[in-house]
């Protein structure tokens, strides 16, 4: 990647950078620093989860077994699919294919919305079963999963379930907003092989959110499954 004199007057080049290449390197580093900060943010939640999972393992296993493994696995597949379409969108931007870029950004948004819809179905089921922490929280005493476990510890599991999946879902909603802006800009032809950093950096964010889910799925849905069935 040599210095491109033609890019000096590129409308996307900010005045404090010498070249688009330098601008790209700086913004990529900035995005990674943000993602490392996000890693520490989610890391706090994962640490709380780990401490209480070790302490109240039976209650966590009971809570985990009330979650629908089918929905969880489908959502994992949806999110991995959206990461593929996001990666293909970045590829389309880098090779200057405007229509493909718009198409793949659209697919990514659709899959993201699909993920959130499945999450809404799952949350609805949790509200109906009185598994949402708070004054209405109640465990069915006849349910074989809850024999011999302290309900307050199961409530702790569901608190973490909602905090972690809720924070993850919030990141998805923010991602959808950013993708919407990119979709409009792509349609207007703002991204070219010379300048497409926003698409690439949004891709980094989207893949990061995918990675968080890759860990949430086994940690929340797959605790002690073989024992309960």
């Amino acid at each position: 990647m040599s210095h491109n004199p033609e890019a000096a007057g590129h409308p996307a080049l900010q005045h404090h950078f010498d070249s688009l290449e330098q601008q790209h390197d700086a913004t990529t580093l900035g995005m990674w620093l943000f993602l490392v900060q996000e890693l520490m943010f989610f890391g706090g939640l994962f640490t709380v989860y780990l401490v209480y999972r070790v302490k109240y393992f039976a209650a966590f296993a009971a809570g985990s077994n009330t979650l629908d493994i089918g929905w969880g696995a489908i959502n994992t597949a949806i999110l991995i699919g959206s990461s593929l379409t996001m990666a293909l969108a970045v590829h389309a931007a880098q090779t200057g294919r405007r229509k493909l870029l718009v198409l793949f950004l659209g697919f990514t948004m659709l899959l993201g919305a699909g993920f959130l819809s499945v999450k809404a179905v799952e949350y609805h089921e949790k509200f109906e079963s009185h598994h949402v922490p708070g004054s209405a929280f109640q465990l069915d005493p006849h349910d074989k999963h809850f024999q011999g476990v302290d309900p307050s510890n199961v409530q702790l599991f569901f608190s973490l379930y909602f905090a972690m999946t809720g924070m993850h879902a919030l990141h998805m909603v923010i991602g959808l907003g950013i993708l919407g802006v990119l979709l409009v800009k792509s349609w207007k032809g703002r991204f070219t092989p010379e300048y497409n950093s926003p698409v690439e950096l949004t891709g980094l964010y989207w893949h990061f959110v995918d990675i968080v889910w890759i860990y949430l799925f086994p940690l929340l849905y797959l605790v002690d499954r073989y024992h309960h069935y």
Binding site: E21, T28, A87, H207, F217, L222
Partner: protein, 105 residues
């Protein structure tokens, strides 16, 4: 300038691998993997689940997020993040797990 261009075929390959690993992690969750080593039952299910998740995360980071083709500065930044996450998890657990080893009055 834009970043490294990864071939679409590689993206499809990574996607297929991620899907297979997802199926594997669901299947293995229903298997009883508690081998007896030196007379002690060791629960390997969570270890396997996290190993699969980490493999998936590595594939995403290296190929979808282009870290394999990125500058050394980016690689060091990512490694530093993982390292600090390790400090957070390991030192916290080191404290909680060892608290009951010594009975204090």
């Amino acid at each position: 300038m834009s970043g490294h261009i990864v071939s679409r075929r590689l993206y499809y390959g990574i996607f297929a691998a991620l899907m297979m690993l997802t199926l594997l992690t669901v299947w293995v969750a229903y298997q009883d993997v508690h081998p007896r080593i030196w007379g002690v039952h060791i629960a390997l299910n969570p270890v396997i689940a996290l190993a699969i998740a980490t493999t998936k995360a590595l594939l995403v980071v290296l190929y979808f997020m282009h870290v394999r083709y990125s500058s050394k500065l980016t690689k060091v930044t990512v490694l530093a993040g993982v390292f600090w996450l390790g400090i957070l998890l390991i030192m916290t657990m080191g404290d909680y797990v060892s608290r009951e080893w010594i009975k204090l009055p």
